[in-house]
Structure formats: C-alpha cells, structure tokens
C-alpha cells in the first residue's frame, strides 16, 4: 500500500497536467462558441506551462534567488558548487515559461480580436451558425 502511495505521489503532477491538457483540447475541438474555444486554448497553454515548471522543481531546494547581492559580488561564497546546484530550483524552465506567459497574452489578444471581427462580419460567434452563413 505504501509503495503504491509513493508511486502515486511521485507521478501525480504529470497526471494533473494531463487532465488539464485534455480538458483544453476537448474544449478546443468540441465547443461551439468561439470564446469558449479561446478559453480552452488558454487552459491547454497553462497545462504545458505547468508541466515545464514542475520539471524545474527540486525537493529540498529554495527559490532561484541567492542572498548575495547589492554589490557584494566579490564576497566569499560559502557554498560549494554542488551545494548551490542542489539548493536552488532549476531557473531555466522558469525563464522559458515567463516569456511564454507574456507571449500567451499577446496571442490571446489576437484571438479575441479575430472573434470580434468575426462577430462584426457574420453577426454571431457560434460555429454552426457561421458555417450556415458561409454556405448561403
């Protein structure tokens, strides 16, 4: 029983990211309303960001900011290299995902602008009604 529990705790973050990803994908394919599709796209995106951030997590580590700063760069660092590596979370996924979030709001803006333009031209944002109007 205990082994199963440890196995679940070791992997459950991947499963939760998987559930969010599938919710987003399902909404993007099956929802009829275009704004709902955009919300689905954002959920899909944040699931991927969650995956990357959870890769950067290390047990027993702290946030990737040292205490040495404010011009004290030349002071003696009391930690060895191995201690520093084990002591701080991996900063690389954080950097990549930080820019991804800001680019995400850019794509969100473009998507919503397209939705407004579609509403201006067709008078509706329901997919089936738009398809009917295109056929006419």
């Amino acid at each position: 029983m205990n082994e199963i529990l440890t196995a679940i705790i070791a992997k459950y973050n991947y499963w939760s990211f998987l559930i969010l990803l599938l919710i987003g994908l399902h909404a993007m394919i099956s929802k009829n309303n275009l704004v709902k599709k955009v919300i689905g796209m954002s959920i899909f995106q944040s699931a991927i960001i969650l995956f990357y951030v959870s890769i950067g997590y290390k047990k027993g580590a702290t946030i990737p900011i040292t205490e040495h700063g404010h011009g004290h760069a030349n002071e003696v660092v009391h930690q060895t290299a191995a201690e520093m590596v084990a002591g701080f979370a991996n900063p690389l996924p954080h950097v990549l995902m930080l820019t991804a979030i800001v680019v995400g709001v850019g794509t969100l803006g473009v998507a919503l602008a397209l939705v407004q333009k579609i509403h201006r031209v067709y008078g509706t944002i329901e997919e089936d009604e738009i398809l009917e109007k295109i056929k006419e």
């Binding site: 946030i63 930080l98 919503l112 509403h119």
Partner: protein
C-alpha cells in the same frame, strides 16, 4: 529555508483539484462574463501552484497577466458580442 515535501503534497493536491474544477466550470457556464471571471480565478489558483513549485517569477507574471489583464480582455470582448453562449 527548505520545504518539507511530505507536508507539501496534500496542499498541492487541494490546489490541483480546485484548478481542475475551475477549468471545467469556466468551460461549462453559458454566460460568457461568468466564464471570464471564473477563468480569472483559475489563473490565480495556477499562480498559487507555481509559487509553491518555487517558480516565483512565473507566479508573479501569471498574477499580473493571467488574473489581471487577460480577464479584462475577455470582459471587453464579451461586451461586444452576444453574451449568452449556446454550450
């Protein structure tokens, strides 16, 4: 300061559960403005999750962008189109 992983996972699990509930709720509501606000709550819970995963910069960005600006964008769009969605 270090984190005790054994203490962490229940908390983590709770937030993950609420995140999934919020995601489903944001897609289920028929009123687009309600959906936009629930999606703001989703973003904020996501931000909590990232703080706990030691990604403070990412959490800060998400709190400013996801919970703040993108909710306003959704509201701005929802007022320009038909508010009720069919599904």
């Amino acid at each position: 300061m270090t984190w005790d992983a054994s203490l962490l996972w229940q908390f983590d699990f709770l937030i993950l559960l609420m995140v999934i509930i919020c995601a489903v709720a944001a897609l289920t509501f028929k009123d687009l403005i309600t959906s936009a606000v629930v999606f703001g709550a989703y973003s904020f819970l996501m931000c909590l999750l990232w703080t706990e995963m030691l990604a403070v910069d990412v959490a800060f960005t998400e709190a400013a962008v996801g919970a703040g600006v993108s909710t306003v964008f959704f509201l701005g769009t929802a007022l320009h189109i038909k508010r009720r969605a069919k599904d």
